[in-house]
Amino acid sequence: MAAPETSTAAVPTLYTNNTLRNAFGGVLSFFILLLIGVMAFSIRLFSVIKYESVIHEFDPYFNYRVTQFLAKNGIYEFWNWFDDRTWYPLGRVIGGTVYPGLTLTAGTIWWLLNSLNIPLSVETVCVFTAPIFSAFASWATFLLTKEVKGTGAGLTAAALLAMVPSYISRSVAGSYDNEAVAIFALIFTFYLYIKTLNTGSLFYATLNSIAYFYMVCSWGGYTFIINLIPMHVLLCIVTGRFSSRLYIAYAPLVVLGTLLAALVPVVGFNAVMTSEHFASFLVFIILHVVAFVYYIKGILSPKMFKVAVTLVVSVGLAVCCAVIAVLIALVASSPTKGWSGRSLSLLDPTYASKYIPIIASVSEHQPPTWPSYFMDINVLAFLVPAGIIACFSPLSDSSSFVVLYIATSVYFSGVMVRLMLVFAPAACITSGIALSQSFDVFTRSIKFQLPGISSNTEVDAAETSSATAEAQNDAVKTEKSEETSKNRPSKKSKKKEKEEKPSTKAKAEKRLLALPLDSSVISLLLLILLGAFYVVHCVWAAAEAYSAPSIVLTSRSHDGLHVFDDFREAYGWLRHNTDVDDKVASWWDYGYQTTAMANRTVIVDNNTWNNTHIATVGTAMSSPEKAAWEIFHSLDVKYVLVVFGGLVGYPSDDINKFLWMVRIGGGVFPHIKEPDYLRDGQYRIDSQATPTMLNCLMYKLSYYRFVETDGKGFDRVRQTEIGKKHFKLTHFEEVFTTHHWMVRIYKLKPPKNRIRGKTKKSKSQKTSSTSSRGKRSGSGKKNPWQ
């Protein structure tokens, strides 16, 4: 810990006094960090306190299930796991298609605890993984910001990150998702990169590759790192900041990092084959060329160098052109230009809605609205510009990285709501810098005018000292960059070195930047108020907005708290009262939950890797009963599960998602046409709805006997009476409906016994239906009943 040194103190800097202060500052910032970690952990426990210790939402259930498998069967079985409980009849190779970082992390924690005879269940470990890692992430933020702007900024940024709502939304206790560990890995990788850049140490460079490897293990967002760091390297080269430290920071990362990334089964050869990684290789080449040029420049006389340049440039350009042409040809030959769908929709925000409805249908892939920025990063949005400005004075290698990081992440967060998560740490870092810099300026000007104050109140002194540290650290850094850290002093001698050098210089600089006393006091108060507002907002967001596990819903009414535990009721029913090999069809949102909670085979799940399969289910849901029965029957489906919120007013039910089913289904099976379900472009389920809509399976399964509840069939979500009230089901039968009707489970009726006279007729129907079902007829699946 670079102990801050208080040069502002009016007392002459005695050596002993100074060490004491250093030690005190070090201990203080250590405890502040510890408390930040505790806060980061505990602010995420609202969900456990208000609800229960349970896995949240959809994807976490899959991760939880994988972790259970890992804990039970061990790592080798895990890599080879072929999951036959999902994507029936295709199955899914879990070991090769999952980012294993989170699972392995939680599995390791679980194993460690159990080998210490601490019998925590896998579920408990999974629930608390995210809060633990957010504490780590805030520490990593401290380290990163400290490298950029010193301890004070580091502590501020860490505190901000510990409670930024955007990050809380993905890392509350129970939100066991990849992002939980990936954000830590992301920040830590950046920290190690900056650290390497500042020190030029190969040790940190190696650590950096390992951190990058962990990031690749954890999240698909690693492509952000492998594009951002090359961008920064390129920026450094272009702005004439090339140094051997830059080379050490980058070259090992690309070589080692790519090799390590290729070890992760889900990435594999993608680490060298897809366009997401090309930038890094290109910059790698450029870096070498530049390094070579610098080297040549060093050994040749200026005149010779000029000659060499002209020669090399002319030859090199020709070679480059050829190589690039080949590359472009290769890339262009693939239909998506070598980019994955999600990356493409990042580069072209309209791409997904045009071509991949399945990506567009996910709410977290939508572009965010302005209120969501305010909700997720709150006052940071105003502090970020100030932080960017602070980064420019003075602009170092590391601060330029922060500027680049925030610029790119702002763009990405603007494309997808989900990527707000990547933006949040950048916002915290810049706002931390901004806050700490302004605190520094204000407190310094106050102290400058009230010389007695600092010696009296030690806490205040320590606080400001930590705040003032970044200026000195900058000074250290500029000096360091001159030295290019030729020697690596041991920790202690380095400390001493730092203490001696910048004091006089910084002192003189600071005296110039004094503000009037009253204005600085007021501004200080205002800043504290701003911070307080942020804290209040974050606590509110953590407690109210982001802690609901979404599998249990609660509502407050005049007669107390109402709990809607319908999802688990239905999954529990499926788990205990159906045959273990029965197949359950539902919209893909509920796939992960069904496999994890009900332990039943599903047709499609939230890993949307097979669009056709999802489209088949979508088509079945949008078809009339008989056609739907045929589709489901051909898929061996025994039960169909629909989510219906009309009785209690649960808005994200299947009827509201239905248009996406139509769109995705229609994208593959053209006989499903969206306009058939819309009346004058409007989606409605009342008496004005189109007959196609009123006869489709989803409508029927949702509203079957709904009218008998209140006599009218009033849908509380759509705020209207339903269009078709009395109807019977011929091919399905209701086998279970939960207490609040939120989940309804239907069983496919067994096919009727074959009657001789009717076989021909049904056969002819079959052919027509198969042809209309397009691709399915080619799948070669024989239906023995028809």
Partner: protein, 467 residues
């Protein structure tokens, strides 16, 4: 209907053969039963039989053993047999519990199983005594039809004999059957048979020889749910820091007529009296008083539908399964709670400690097919021994819990086919030195101490090569 007819024929055949056997030797012909009254309670799914026997010693030698006979089909479902003897005369009668043990007799006709009641005072010749016998059958009501729809009511068969099976001559006997409702579809008539309201009367029959048997079949409505816990694992963990943690894992099934076809929530909710009358909506668990930190959950999380009522004498936990259980539907759940240790742990006279806890299942009116009670003793306890009022299978296990090194001794007791009668206290004796309580805190403290020492050492060692 074919099966029952065949069964009755079979039983008739048995009866004949039994009568044939009678002529041969049978145990202690000296005893005879002068009057027998049997009351069979069929209102719940646990069949309770109250038998009042007036036994007379007609022989010459005093005897202290009285035999009860059961047909082999019933003995499998027999959960418990208790016998009481009335002492004193008229108003000052007291009841004394007698030992009852299963007995094997070498010449048991047709696999008849016996239980012996050991009288405390031998019955001299010419004397008579009155015995009150209570025995319970589980799984003895056979649903027929075996599958019912949601709106149908549950009908069951009960099979028994109009005559009490006994190795003794019975002079006079009467059997009363109590059905839960007046709705009785059919019953076998063995004259004289009367039916009035919810009660049926078989008898009185006079002078029946030993092993008389007359099968009867009653088909009646029983709409009470049949909660059956297929497996229950109760883990009682003793912490000498003052807490007794109980964890109970249930596998519950509705043992009545299987549910068939549709389950319609709208019918179930709007017409609760007609729909799913035999469904299992809630269960009541009677927990010890001063219970705290009660939880009720299953493998996918907390189940929110439960209520706890506590007062100074008892605690009642009303739990609803996640979904109403229809016939054949299953549910699993866990109930856990903490109890103050001083209520259950005592020191015995020989300086040992013992845990005094209830054996059976706290759910009211349930049958437990298999119960495993695990008493986890604190780490470092020695020579455990369990005292249970009935026979159980016992063995020891070792469990590792929070930071254990040598592991905790677990006394495991298993028993099959339990009814609420088995909720009687049992004791586990063990020796424990209180110093073991400090083992784990000391271990933690030393681990942290070593860690800090290591940190200190690291900070003071300069490992760099260059100075």
């Amino acid at each position: 209907m074919e099966a029952p007819i065949r069964a009755t024929e079979f039983l008739r055949f048995t009866l004949l053969s039994l009568l044939f056997f009678v002529c041969r030797s049978s145990p202690s012909q000296d005893l005879l039963i002068s009057n027998a009254e049997r009351r069979i309670d069929l209102t719940s799914h646990i069949v309770k039989v109250y038998l009042t026997l007036k036994v007379e010693n007609a022989g010459s030698t005093p005897t202290s053993e009285i035999l009860l006979a059961f047909p082999p089909t019933q003995v499998d479902h027999l959960a418990t047999v208790e016998a009481l003897v009335t002492k004193g005369k008229r108003k000052k009668t007291t009841l004394a519990r007698l030992d009852v043990k299963p007995t094997e007799l070498p010449d048991a006709p047709n696999g008849t199983k016996y239980f012996t009641i050991y009288l405390s005072n031998p019955l001299n010749s010419g004397e008579s005594t009155t015995l009150e016998v209570l025995y319970l059958f589980t799984h003895s009501l056979e649903p027929f039809p075996a599958e019912i729809g949601q709106s149908e009511s549950q009908l069951v068969y009960y099979r028994d004999s109009a005559l009490i099976l006994s190795p003794y001559h019975i002079k006079q006997q009467t059997t009363f059957l109590k059905t839960p409702s007046t709705k009785v579809e059919s019953f076998t008539s063995v004259e004289p048979t009367n039916r009035a309201g919810t009660e049926m009367k078989y008898g009185p029959y006079e002078d029946r020889p030993p092993y008389s048997f007359s099968p009867i079949l009653i088909h009646f409505e029983n709409n009470s749910p049949f909660p059956v816990v297929e497996e229950l694992v109760r883990e009682v963990e003793i912490s000498h820091w003052g807490n007794l943690q109980v964890t109970e894992q249930y596998t519950l099934v509705h043992g009545g007529a299987r549910h068939k076809g549709v389950f319609s929530r709208v019918d179930y909710q709007s017409r609760p009296n007609l729909n799913g009358v035999s469904s299992l909506r809630y269960l009541l668990a009677r927990l010890p008083p001063r219970v705290h930190s009660v939880y009720y959950r299953d493998e996918i999380g907390n189940i929110s539908s439960s209520h706890l009522r506590t007062d100074s004498r008892k605690s009642e936990l009303e739990i609803e399964p996640r979904y109403p259980l229809f016939g054949g539907w299953k549910a699993t759940f866990v109930i856990g709670y903490g109890l103050p240790l001083q209520d259950f742990l005592f020191e015995s006279s020989d300086d040992r400690r013992y845990l005094n806890f209830t054996f059976g299942c706290p759910l009211l009116d349930t049958v437990v097919d298999k119960l495993t009670v695990k008493v986890v003793l604190p780490e470092g306890s020695k020579d455990p021994s369990a005292v249970v009022p009935f026979t159980v299978e016992q063995h020891l296990e070792t469990k590792y819990s929070y930071l254990d090194v040598v592991g905790r001794t677990v006394v495991v007791m298993e028993k099959k086919n339990l009814v609420p009668v088995h909720n009687s206290p049992f004791q586990v004796y063990y020796t424990f030195k209180p110093i073991f309580m400090l083992a784990e805190p000391l271990m933690l403290a030393s681990a942290f101490f070593l860690f800090f020492v290591a940190c200190l050492a690291y900070l003071h060692i300069d490992l760099s090569i260059r100075k």
